[in-house]
Symmetry: C2
Subunit: 383 residues, 2 copies
């Protein structure tokens, strides 16, 4: 480990690509003949192979959940505050696996990859994916790693949807399911925001009906607006107000002077949008938001969530955050109510927080950390 | 009145243009040498000229607040449910004046008008406007109509900001100020939504830095996305859920079938965005949202709202709606608190409604109508 990294960091990490040649039938009916998944692991798999944790990422996440690739990387992985020695997902105890989802744009096969059938980027022709497709590919990673049963499958937001799907579809392959800031299905308002974001991308002439890579261009402007829309929904109104208020970045309100006034929140959002648009694939963004929209945990269980959860064999931890208006505490309460009705073992906590939906990633939230740690500490592993 | 119109309609109406040649100094320091304002009136001005009501419109409103131009118009004016014989703004009693704001795109001088100095559309060169500029032009309309004192100045949302500004800047020229679903200033989240909407417009290559008319094009896609963003914030999450839920417009979730799934809310929003983009000017949209962002009622009063309202001489009615998350009831409570601190005469009502910010326009809300009517009925007029 580099000296530049704090002691509770997982340190310098590397990722690796796994190639799968066994055809994968997708929920949409299409078949991927081969695909690659990029994974990253932290900690050590024990002899009993019962200390493995699977991290499922959210819309804009990837396999790089903790540590750095180089000591001088500006930022560590996206969930670094919660993965490492002594942290809630303690690498002294657990072997942690993080996968860039199929359809992603950080190493796993996705719309920006080359379609081997025609040697062109997949682009718009990449198949639609559902949450269950991700779970199925994650099962193959489990098999590849010879992990018969996960100590826990953990995810926030869209990641929580994957964790819940695991508990229903592969009940014997996990002992704990940890669902943070998630929902059993999106509301009309959630879908409305996603559709508006997609529309911003699609309306960008550089989108070229999704085949922008073949046209050697990128719909940066559209993706940037899409991310701005998303970003507003990740923060709470109150948190945004405390952080930015009506502070100006430039200009003034002096009368008689025409100069452009810019609020801090404006330049912040634009910066966030622009930087995202340089590193993320627009088709992946569309694909991920569609998977979010389509997810409906109980659809195949007569729309009865309790019936759905009756298939689960694991224990559950469900966490929500008071100021999260994207997936409000009510959504988590619906999950918990269904679990209780299905006679499942569930611990639920609503964490007081002003960080909105992003709270699940934000450091230094004592109750969240304490609760998350306490739960993880009680998970039994053999050696 | 046409037989096609209901009895409580103001009937067939006409609008008219008023030309102003006295130069207008704007808050930004620039001067408009001449300009036109489009106005519409309902009811009859009494001999004492003390029964006039000024309607101030919101972001996407205009002078056409009630009635129809032709019996077969699909829709009446935007506030038709509240203006007419027997309605809260009763045309049997009041003479109602509605003006398309300066900078608008429905007949008043705005960015889409021809700049007489160069015979080109103003486009991006049209001056930035503040709420106070609108109030100043409305004062000129009052003078033109020889209305020394309005019985009431009334507005919802951005219109409420104009009404409040009237009460501070021209205290002797109104007896009542009616402020509906408004705020003394925008929150960081409000600004964030506006900036994202503007960014969608500006990123449209057809925007041409605001000079699209000179290029004989229109940034329809960008404006459409901007309107979609706005529209989400006008409705409540709950109301949207009740109206659309997760109902599909096309496609199905059947496994093994790849067909595009479309939710009702998606096509609804897209339709709303597209129709708006055909009738509204993009520069006006930017100008109006900027005026919203810049508005800060107490800025020139040491940021002390009570000090600001201490200048008012009128009586106030303030109304908010429980599910309005754009200008939440808390924003109205701040207004009312400041008025009380300034020892003003204020009636406040928080109306239970599931229609979000749009509630101020939506018909058949009994308590809103009853309260609004009761207040208006008590306004004294001489003949």
């Amino acid at each position: 480990m580099s000296n530049a990294l704090p002691e509770d960091s997982v340190g310098i990490v590397t990722c690796k690509t796994i190639s799968f040649d066994e055809p994968l039938r997708l929920a949409c009916g299409r078949v991927l003949k081969q695909y690659e998944l990029m994974i990253e692991t932290y900690g050590t798999l024990n002899a009993a192979k019962d200390n493995a944790i699977l991290i499922c990422h959210a819309l804009s996440g990837d396999h790089h959940a903790a540590g750095k690739y180089h000591p001088d990387d500006k930022k560590p992985g996206w969930w670094d505050h919660y993965i490492g020695p002594g942290k809630p997902m303690d690498t002294n105890k657990f072997f942690i696996v993080s996968i860039n989802n199929l359809g992603g744009c950080h190493g796993s096969t996705g719309p920006a990859s080359i379609n081997p059938e025609n040697n062109e980027p997949w682009g718009a022709d990449f198949p639609n994916l559902r949450v269950r497709d991700w779970v199925n590919t994650q099962v193959r990673v489990s098999d590849y790693l010879e992990i018969e049963q996960w100590a826990a499958v953990v995810g926030g937001s869209l990641g929580g949807m994957q964790a819940m799907r695991w508990s229903l579809e592969y009940p014997e392959r996990l002992r704990h399911c940890i669902v943070i800031a998630s929902a059993m299905k999106l509301t009309a308002q959630n879908i409305a925001f996603n559709e508006t974001a997609r529309r911003a991308i699609i309306a960008d002439p550089k989108f070229c009906d999704g085949n922008y890579l073949a046209h050697q261009t990128i719909p940066k402007d559209g993706l940037s607006v899409a991310r701005m829309i998303g970003h507003i929904t990740y923060l709470s109104g109150g948190g945004m107000g405390e952080k930015f208020g009506r502070d100006l970045r430039s200009g003034s309100f002096k009368q008689g002077i025409e100069e452009p006034v810019e609020f801090q929140i404006e330049s912040y959002l634009r910066y966030k949008g622009e930087s995202f648009s340089k590193t993320f694939d627009a088709n992946t963004y569309i694909l991920m938001t569609r998977a979010l929209d389509y997810f409906d945990l109980a659809r195949e269980y007569d729309h009865d969530p309790a019936r759905a959860f009756s298939h689960a064999l694991c224990k559950f931890l469900v966490i929500s955050f008071t100021s999260d208006w994207r997936f409000a505490p009510e959504r988590s309460q619906e999950i918990v109510n269904a679990m209780i009705k299905a006679d499942q073992d569930v611990v639920y906590a609503e964490i007081e927080s002003d960080y909105g939906h992003d709270a699940f990633l934000v450091p230094n939230q004592t109750r969240y950390i304490d609760l998350f740690s306490a739960y993880m500490n009680k998970i039994e592993v053999r050696s």
